[in-house]
Symmetry: C2
Subunit: 375 residues, 2 copies
C-alpha cells in the first residue's frame, strides 16, 4: 500500500534530504564537516531570524526545552507558564522538576491565551524571571499570539521563552524583531528532517541570565555549546547524519523563501479547515495555527476510529492526546507538504466518514479546499 | 578521492543500514514502528547481555552518562571515579556539575587502573554510592578491567556504572554475569550507526536506587523512559530514522554472532598493533583495547602531521585530545571494519611516515599484520 504521512511530527522528508543522509558518514572533525557546519549555522540564523548563533543538540525538542530552563534559572525562581495543552504543560513540568516556582496562566484546551492574562500574571508577581509560551500548541492545533506576549514581557525584567517546535518554518516568528528571548525548535516538523535534533536560539537578554543561572546541567549546557559552536564545533559528538540532512533542508526552505514558505503553510491550513468545515465538522481550536488542524470527532464517532480509518487507507494522521483522546483527530500540513497532500487527506476523510456511517456528500470537502488552493 | 573512515566514532555505516534509514520515514505511533521497536528492544538485550530493558535516548552518549548520574544519586552523595583519560574525566565533570562528591582514582594517561586502587578507595570512604569506570578509554586506547572492578564493587553497597561507549560490541561485557549495574553506550561506535542514540541498561540493584535519587532531571528521566518502553514506546519523540537503522545493525551483529564479533575486533586490534610495532612505533596504552589503537608519534614528528597525512590520502583517523594532542594518533578498528581496512591503514601509515622523512621499509607493517589476519 502506498503510504502518506500527515501527522504532526515526524513529517515527510524530501528525497534530496534522505539521499544526503544516505551518503557514507563523515567525521565531525574534518574540513568537509566544518564547511558544511558553517553553512548550517548561517542558514539557521536566517530561519530563526536572529543574529546570535543557534545552538544545536542531538536530542528531541524536549531536550532543548529543558536546556532553556536550566541555563537561565535557579531553584526557587518564579516564572509564568502559559498552559493551553500538552506542550504548555510540559514547560511547567520541566520547571517543577527543577524546583522553579510556576505561576500558571491556564487556558482551556483549544483556546489561545489572552495576552492580557499574561500581563496580569506579571503584575501579580513582580519577581518573575521568565515567561514560557507555546507558539503552536500541537496538541490542540491552537496558535498563541507570541508577538503580543513578547511586547508585554519586553516591558518587564522577565525574558520570554517560546516553544516553536511546530511553528518554526510554518508561521512567521521573527525572533529578534518581536523580542522573543529564547526560541526552541526540533528537526522533525517544518525542518523536514527525522527527529533527533533540537535547537535553541537566545537573545542577548537571555544570554545575560545564563552566568547567574544555578540549576545544574551538563549535556544541555548552553555556555559549553556556544563556546564550541563559535569554534564551528559541537561540545559533544553531533548527530552528523541529521546535520548533513539539515544542510539540504535549509537549502530547500531558503530557496523557496521564508515568506513563500509561510504563505504555503497558511494556504494549506486554510484549505484543510475549509474542507473539514464543508463536511460539517467543527474545528477544535478557536484560533487554529498553520501546522496542523485539530478537528472534533462528530457526535457518535470515536476519534480513534477516524485515525484507524485513515491508517487502513495508508495515511498516518494523529488522534488526541490526554483528555482530548478520542475527541479530536489532527491532520498535519507542515514541512514537505503541498496542496495535493491536503486533498488526499480530505478525500480520505470523506471515505472514512462514509465508512463510519456519517452522512457525507463526496467531493464537498475537496471542492471547498480546491477553491482556496487554486488561488 | 575514495574515502575511508577509521576514527573512533563516527565509524563506517553498512550500506544495508544507510538504505534502511533512507526509506521514507514512519511515524512512531504506528503498528509498523511498534513491531520494529519490539525487535530492537529484544536485540538490544542480547547485545547488552542483560535481562532488563535497555533505555534508548535521542542524544549523544554523554546524555546517557548524565542520565546514569542524575537517576541514581543525590547532591552530596559520595562516589568513586576512575579517571584515566578524557572520558573518565567526563564522569567526574558530570558528577561535579550536580554537586556529587567525587573521590578520584587517577591513572596516568595510557595506563589501566589497578582494581586494588578501586578497592582501596572504597575502603577509605565507606559511604560510596557508586563507582564510575570506563571500559574502553577511547582517548588513550586503554582497556580497564571491568570484570575485576565489578567483582570488587559487588562486595560493597555501591553500584558500578560503566561507560561502554566504545566497548559495547567490541569486547565482551556480559553485564548481568559480571555484575555491572549500569552500562552506557552510544550508536556511532560498534553499533555501526550515525551518532544520535544513547543507551543505558540498569541492573535491579541500580533500579533500586532510582526512586531515592534526588537530583533533578527531565529529558533523561529513566523512570519515565522505562514506563514508556514497557509499553513499547518512548517518553519523547524517538530518533525514528536511527532506530530504523538500529534494527538493521543489530541484525548484522547478531547474525555474525557476538563471540565472532568480539574475536574479529580482537584480531583487527592485534594486527594493527603488530603492524605499527613492526614499523618501530610504540603503542600509547599499556593494556590496549580492541576499539582503537593509540600510537605514540615518533620523535621529531608531530601527531597532527600524521593525521593530516592520512587525510591527504583520503583516510580519517584521530589525533590526541587534551594534553595528548600532537603526541599520539589513533587508528580505530571497530564496527563495520575488516582486515583489509586495517591493511589500508597500515599501508597509509607507511606512506605517511615516509612522506614525513621517517625511515620506513615498505611492507614491514603490512606483513606483520598479515601474519595475524591470515589465521
Amino acid at each position: 500500500m502506498k503510504r502518506y504521512l500527515l501527522a504532526p511530527g515526524p513529517t515527510p522528508i524530501p528525497p534530496e534530504v534522505l539521499l544526503a543522509m544516505a551518503q557514507p558518514i563523515i567525521h565531525h572533525r574534518t574540513p568537509e564537516y566544518e564547511a558544511l557546519f558553517a553553512d548550517v549555522r548561517r542558514d539557521l540564523r536566517l530561519l530563526f531570524q536572529c543574529k546570535n548563533e543557534v545552538l544545536i543538540f542531538a536530542a528531541s525538542g524536549t531536550g532543548a526545552m529543558e536546556g532553556a530552563v536550566v541555563n537561565t534559572l535557579s531553584a526557587g525562581d518564579q516564572v509564568v507558564v502559559v498552559r493551553g495543552g500538552k506542550f504548555g504543560e510540559r514547560w511547567a513540568e520541566i520547571c517543577e522538576a527543577y524546583g522553579v516556582r510556576v505561576l500558571p496562566v491556564d487556558v482551556p484546551y483549544g483556546k489561545s491565551v489572552d495576552p492580557a492574562a499574561v500581563a496580569a500574571a506579571l503584575k501579580s508577581e513582580p519577581a518573575v524571571k521568565a515567561v514560557f509560551a507555546t507558539h503552536s500548541e500541537t496538541s490542540t492545533g491552537a496558535v498563541h499570539d507570541v508577538q503580543a506576549i513578547a511586547a508585554i514581557v519586553r516591558e518587564t525584567p522577565a525574558i520570554l521563552i517560546v516553544d516553536a517546535i511546530t511553528s518554526l518554518g510554518v508561521m512567521d516568528l521573527p525572533m529578534d524583531a518581536w523580542g522573543a528571548d529564547i526560541v526552541v525548535a526540533g528537526s522533525q516538523k517544518a525542518m523536514m528532517l527525522p527527529p533527533g535534533l533540537a535547537f535553541a536560539a537566545l537573545s542577548d537578554r537571555a544570554w545575560a541570565l545564563v552566568p547567574g543561572a544555578r540549576l545544574p546541567k551538563y549535556y544541555f549546557n548552553f555556555t559549553a555549546e556556544r563556546k564550541a559552536i563559535e569554534k564551528n564545533q559541537s561540545a559533544y559528538t553531533p548527530a552528523v547524519s541529521l546535520v548533513v540532512g539539515l544542510r539540504e533542508s535549509l537549502r530547500l526552505i531558503l530557496a523557496e523563501g521564508l515568506p513563500n514558505v509561510f504563505a504555503r503553510h497558511d494556504r494549506l491550513a486554510r484549505a484543510t479547515r475549509a474542507g473539514v468545515q464543508a463536511l460539517g465538522l467543527e474545528l477544535f481550536a478557536e484560533h487554529p495555527g498553520c501546522a496542523c488542524t485539530a478537528v472534533k470527532a462528530p457526535a457518535g464517532i470515536e476519534g480513534g476510529a477516524i485515525v484507524k480509518g485513515f491508517r487502513q487507507r495508508g495515511i498516518t494522521i494523529a488522534g488526541g492526546q490526554g483528555s482530548m483522546r478520542g475527541k479530536i483527530f489532527r491532520i498535519a500540513h507542515m514541512g514537505y507538504v503541498d496542496g495535493f497532500d491536503v486533498l488526499t487527506a480530505l478525500t480520505a476523510l470523506e471515505f472514512v466518514l462514509a465508512d463510519l456511517g456519517h452522512p457525507v456528500t463526496f467531493g464537498e470537502g475537496i471542492r471547498a479546499a480546491q477553491r482556496i488552493l487554486q488561488k
